[in-house]
């Protein structure tokens, strides 16, 4: 029964560990953009922009997006770290515990906030985008994203019920 999952779990574990590192690197990169290189002229030359009120607005908007992008880092960390702990508990042969239910609940809330952030980032990008300087970001409303939020909340409840049932079974003589 466990054979089909024998490869999936180690792969998931490695992928999650890589994602945790990449997430921190992503955070460091955004932080560097915000702190080390705040020079407006640098940004304008990098994007081949000419100084004007419109481009200033664009730069401000991009900074706001970068700040929101920074907020994504700890939220993604919550998701990856807790998912890694769930994977480890499955490998240890004891996944139906109350801790995993709370982990899934935390993941669901993090995914919800990530979706809200994506909406805000998408709205900013749309407001900034002009025919001359189109800003195409992979952000905004995503039916799959919201479905994932719903699915995770439901799974958290399923795990909570499963943990209770397992506890009952463990104390059945």
């Amino acid at each position: 029964m466990s054979t089909p999952y024998s490869a999936a779990l180690p792969i998931a574990r490695v992928v999650l560990k890589i994602l945790i590192v990449l997430n921190w690197l992503w955070g460091a990169a955004i932080l560097a953009l915000l702190v080390v290189m705040p020079n407006e002229q640098w940004i304008m030359s990098a994007f081949d922009l000419t100084p004007s009120p419109e481009t200033e607005r664009l730069v401000m908007g991009m900074r706001a997006i970068a700040v929101l992008g920074l907020a994504v880092v700890p939220l993604s960390y919550v998701v990856f770290k807790r998912l890694l702990a769930i994977v480890d508990s499955v490998r240890a042969g004891d996944p139906f515990v109350a801790t995993n239910a709370s982990r899934l609940q935390a993941i669901a809330w993090a995914l919800l906030v990530l979706q809200l952030l994506s909406l805000v980032i998408g709205a900013i990008a749309k407001a900034l985008s002009t025919p001359a300087h189109p800003l195409n970001l992979d952000a905004g409303f995503s039916i799959n994203g919201w479905l994932a939020v719903l699915l995770t909340f439901v799974l958290a409840r399923v795990f909570a019920e499963g943990a209770l049932m397992r506890e009952d079974l463990a104390r059945t003589v």
Partner: protein, 72 residues
């Protein structure tokens, strides 16, 4: 829990140890200890059947309802 398990009394009356009973009915000593100490949440009919058969008693001799404060 308002249900009290009288396994200790039954074993005492029959001069039998928990380990002996566990061996005779094929249930682990750990599980039987859970039952004896009242920490069990449920008991299988098969377990009840095996205990009653071995100790020549009725389920009512093993389990007793003792009203007390309700569990949260």
């Amino acid at each position: 829990m308002a249900i009290a398990v009288k396994l200790d009394d039954l074993l005492h009356d029959r001069r039998m140890t928990l380990t002996e009973l566990a061996d005779r009915i094929g249930i682990t000593l750990a599980n039987l200890s859970i039952l004896k100490t009242g920490k069990a949440r449920a008991i299988r009919f098969s377990t009840l059947d095996a205990i009653c058969r071995e100790l020549a008693c009725q389920p009512g001799d093993l389990l007793r309802f003792e009203p007390g404060p309700e569990e949260a």
